[in-house]
């Protein structure tokens, strides 16, 4: 408890206390609206497996007028949280809150990690009002990438071309914790040449579930098999979603089934950055340039 | 030795951190029981006159009940006879002692009448609903000599008479009627709300009519007794 008190003290000072010398604090240009300072929380999976999603997110945010920063980061703590390890979860939550404390917004290309920060961080500190308060303030600044663009920044169109027939999977946390359903579809509709063909049960889980996919591999496989059959049945050439965990699961299954479906994070398409090979495809199998 | 009752109650109180004599808790319970707050009542049934009757019929037919509108009770025997004839059913009918039914002239039809609860050998029965409600097209029947409960379940075909003036909004209006008739917090032995004929979806989730109760429910909606 002592350590969390210390964190509370550190976190309770205004951002400017740490970043600006006192005499600079009042200098704000009157007529130019400052760019919102957006901390990109890349998420473990994007950081490690698919950096191109991170760069797509940066492009989308900068195009929308944000100043993007990437503080040194590891994980939001969700694997520990869902495994019942509260102590590790709290330590990681405090670490994330500290790393991003000077950001106006924290944006992640993932409904799942955003859900963790925006919905569950406050639950972790219910026994400590000081930190709970900070966690609540922090949570209010956390947004999933696509909904941040549409709901907070008011973006309605993107400048991208992707002349393909795509289908969109609604990842569970984004859909049910953050109400993300219409936002990606709205922006996809503005991509030149793109046709969206809905699959049946696009709102049904793909069977990833974090450690579930490894702990209960048989069950996870049964669920993802049902999902890929809906993807194939849609007739789409490309499968998109907003969470890399789900995408790796579905792409891994489609690859094992020998199906030639291109799997990508929705940010890559919205940013017009589809030059890298799709998920689970050989690097030589370059995607379509837009 | 403590009884199961005392143990359970004291376990509940220990878990809740109460002793059971706290005035605010007692008051909260007493108030709720006395005031019986209504909660959310769907707008669907909150209609008047003919639109309410129309809603009742729409909802009842949606759940596979059939409805006949009659000008007066006097038309009941002929309608029952017609229904049985058209469905190739035997011309028999069993009923309770409800004066609305016993006062009717059944002689004009050639039906075999019998009176009393069912022992399981009656193919057709007729009852009088004490009320119905438009929200879901449901009927309310209460047990007693007038309309024995067995008649609601054992026959294959069940005719239920309902006055249009007895069509109400929803369940809340049924509670008001029960309290007015039997007294606050008092009930007849059995109150049945019936919404369509018996059915089951236990085999492969496909809905089939006529499980254990009546295979058909024919509602006779009368304007006047």
């Amino acid at each position: 408890m002592k350590r969390t008190r210390l964190w509370a003290t550190v976190l309770s000072f205004p951002i400017s206390f740490y970043v600006l010398p006192p005499h600079e604090m009042t200098i704000v240009p009157a007529e130019t609206k400052p760019k919102p300072r957006v901390g990109l929380f890349a998420t473990c999976l994007v950081d490690l497996f698919r950096p191109s999603v991170g760069f797509a997110a940066v492009k989308l945010l900068e195009d929308a007028g944000c100043l993007v920063v990437v503080p040194s980061q590891t994980c939001c703590g969700q694997p520990a949280f869902n495994s019942g390890d509260r102590t590790t979860t709290r330590d990681l939550a405090l670490q994330v809150m500290e790393a991003f404390k000077d950001c106006d917004y924290i944006v992640a290309p993932s409904g799942s990690c955003t859900g963790m920060m925006a919905k569950h961080y406050p639950e972790l500190f219910l026994d400590d009002p000081d930190i709970a308060n900070l966690a609540n303030n922090f949570a209010a600044k956390c947004h999933e990438l696509v909904s941040f663009l549409t709901d907070v920044l008011g973006v309605t169109t993107v400048a991208a071309t992707f002349p393909r027939n795509v289908t969109y999977h609604d990842s569970c946390s984004g859909l049910r914790e953050l109400n993300i359903q219409s936002q990606p579809r709205k922006l996809l509709a503005s991509v030149e040449g793109l046709t969206l063909t809905e699959m049946k049960d696009s709102d049904v889980c793909c069977g990833f579930g974090g450690t579930f996919a490894v702990k209960y591999g048989d069950l996870s496989n049964a669920i993802v098999t049902e999902k890929t059959s809906q993807v194939l049945h849609s007739g789409a050439q490309v499968l998109l979603a907003g969470d890399l965990g789900c995408l790796m699961n579905m792409a891994g299954k489609l690859a094992r089934q020998g199906k030639d479906i291109e799997v990508r994070h929705v940010a890559e398409v919205l940013a017009g950055m589809t030059q890298d090979a799709p998920i689970a495809a050989a690097p030589s199998d370059k995607g379509q340039r837009s | 030795m403590s009884t199961a009752r005392d143990d359970i109650l004291s376990n509940i109180r220990r878990s809740l951190g109460v002793h059971g004599k706290e005035a605010p808790r007692l008051a909260s319970v007493q108030n709720r029981l006395a005031q019986t707050p209504a909660g959310v009542i769907p707008a669907r049934g909150q209609l008047e006159g003919e639109t309410k009757t129309a809603m009742f019929i729409e909802q009842a037919e949606m759940v596979q009940a059939s409805v006949a509108r009659l000008a007066s009770a006097a038309e009941i025997p002929a309608e029952v006879a017609r229904y049985l004839r058209e469905h190739n059913l035997p011309a028999t009918i069993r009923m309770g002692a409800d004066p609305l039914l016993t006062a009717l002239d059944w002689n004009a039809t050639s039906m075999a009448l019998s009176q009393g609860p069912s022992t399981g050998h009656d193919l057709n029965a007729i009852s009088v609903a004490s009320a119905g409600f438009a929200e879901t097209g449901s009927l309310m029947l209460t047990s007693g000599q007038d309309n024995p409960t067995t008649l609601n379940f054992l026959p294959d075909t069940h005719f239920v008479v309902l006055k249009t003036s007895d069509i109400e909004v929803g369940l809340e209006s049924m509670w008001q009627r029960l309290r007015a008739r039997f007294g606050k917090a008092l009930m007849p032995r059995t109150v049945n709300f019936i919404t369509g004929p018996s059915r089951s979806a236990d085999i492969e989730q496909s809905m089939l009519l006529g499980a254990h109760g009546p295979r058909s429910l024919h509602i006779l909606l009368i304007e006047t007794a």
């Binding site: 520990a80 946390s173 069950l219 | 359970i8």
Partner: protein, 483 residues
């Protein structure tokens, strides 16, 4: 006396279920019919979401005042001529019921569908006392003649195909012509109706569950579509209601709120065909109805859930919507869960009732997709409650050692950002080189749970953070020309 569980063998159960082609065919019906019907019913009623809030609030109010409402309920049952029996556990509940049956010299006992009777193992107790229990709900009857337990709380035989039911009927109803046609579900229903009609009329005691108990009037409510629950209670001389203590609601108005969400959530009906309120035995001038009315109130671990992090589970009204919408339930059905209550509600309730040591798999076998919570009529936060069980398991070191070790190693790095960046940069570089040819792995050490059925996508190369920071450094190192 309670059912023995196979929950510890959950993984083996799921493998068996996944390989059972008949089961998989039957489960196909759950995947859409229930879901579509509920969605249509909810869409047809603009007040549906407000009613869910109302139902939740009523149940919370009851749980906070449960001792007082139980006392009121008991007093009103007694005043209407009935008798309430309290049972601390399964054994006491079975003893009470068997005692009532024996006092009337009962031979045949008909039963309406009741999950708590499954929980306490009532049929076995009745049989052990030399009486014949007859399940009268069509689904329950089918599984009784098969010697099975329900695989769903409102559709007990949902795991069977009509061909399996036809074979069971031929095997059991040997007095009927062997050549009869049983291909259509209608013929199966009609045969069961005929067989059970005789049982209804012959029964000495009828036992039903209760969807609710009303404190205001001392009434019990059952909702059914078949009418079996009514024939069970009005024909025999004795009607016994078995219910768990949290089934109490304060008033008739409160019951109406819950009825409006119950059938819609369960089967997508606005009202079930029969909604019956039973109060006491038949009155002096009633021509039919039971002469005795008993209520057996079962605790069996519930009073200990009050005030705990699992209290919200006691709001459950047993509609089955959570399992109807659960991808795990869809994949394996109810029997794999190994005890009475399957699906998400079972994953929370079962560890509370039989212990997390026994049922530890159930709250873990969830993707936390949250679809259960999104349809629960009383808004039980099922994923949160499953997570609380995982926390208890973690604290007690019940979770598997390999998972704990893996998690510990990951946490070690995650808590040390510099070390994390250094090691992941190296690791991902290595993995991407290994996976470069195909862009994915067919197999990697320690990932067999994943790779036995799907490929693991390979990393693109350098981590995002390594690339980003290098780019930033390069940008900052550029000679400044403007100032």
């Amino acid at each position: 006396m309670s059912h023995a569980s196979t929950s510890p063998q959950f993984k083996a159960n799921t493998r068996k279920a996944l390989g059972d082609t008949q089961l998989q065919a039957a489960l196909g019906h759950v995947r859409h019919r229930f879901i579509d019907k509920r969605a249509q019913a909810a869409a047809r009623l603009p007040e549906f979401e407000a009613l869910r809030d109302s139902a939740r609030d009523i149940k919370d109010h009851v749980l906070a005042h449960l001792d007082l409402y139980l006392e009121t309920y008991e007093a009103n049952v007694t005043a209407s001529g009935g008798k309430v029996h309290f049972a601390r556990n399964a054994q006491e509940a079975c003893d009470a019921i068997v005692g009532i049956c024996q006092a009337r010299g009962a031979k045949t006992v008909t039963k309406g569908k009741s999950m708590v009777s499954e929980e306490i193992g009532l049929n076995a107790a009745i049989e052990a006392a030399g009486m014949v229990p007859v399940e009268t709900d069509l689904g329950e009857y089918i599984i009784q003649i098969r010697g099975e337990t329900p695989s769903h709380i409102i559709a007990p035989a949902v795991h069977l195909t009509k061909e399996q039911v036809a074979a069971d009927f031929r095997h059991t109803h040997r007095h009927l012509p062997a050549q009869r046609d049983l291909t259509a579900p209608e013929s199966l229903l009609s045969e069961a109706r005929g067989i059970l009609r005789e049982k209804f009329l012959a029964a000495d005691v009828g036992i039903t569950g209760a969807n609710m108990l009303i404190a205001e009037t001392g009434s019990s409510i059952i909702v059914t579509n078949e009418g079996n629950g009514d024939l069970t209670q009005i024909l025999p001389k004795v009607h016994i209601v078995i219910a768990s203590i949290e089934k109490i609601v304060p008033t008739l108005e409160d019951a109406a709120q819950i009825l409006r969400v119950l059938a819609r959530s369960a089967t997508g009906q606005d009202m079930t065909v029969y909604t019956t309120l039973s109060t006491g035995p038949r009155r002096a001038d009633d021509p039919d109805g039971p002469e005795e009315y008993h209520v057996v109130l079962v605790d069996n671990g519930r009073s200990a859930m009050l005030g705990s992090e699992f209290e919200e589970m006691l709001r459950c009204i047993r509609c089955g919507a959570c399992m109807n919408h659960c991808p795990v339930y869809h994949a394996v059905g109810g029997h794999a869960y190994g005890w009475v209550y399957p699906g998400p509600m079972g994953a929370v309730l079962t560890p509370s009732l039989i212990g997390v040591d026994e049922a530890g798999h159930l709250p873990n076998a969830s993707t936390f997709c949250g679809r259960c919570e999104s349809v629960c009529p009383v808004r039980i936060p099922l994923p949160k409650l499953m997570r609380h069980w995982r926390e208890r398991e973690f604290e007690r070191h019940l979770s598997p050692a390999t998972i704990r070790a893996g998690l510990g190693l990951w946490a070690f790095f995650a808590k040390r950002p510099v070390l994390y960046r250094f090691s992941t940069t190296l690791g991902m570089r290595l993995l991407s080189i290994m996976g470069r040819a195909k862009g994915r792995f067919h197999w990697l050490p320690f990932t067999s749970g994943w790779t036995q059925s799907r490929d693991l996508p390979a990393p693109q190369g350098e981590t995002f953070q390594a690339q980003w920071h290098r780019a930033q450094k390069a940008a900052n190192a550029k000679p400044s020309v403007t100032s």
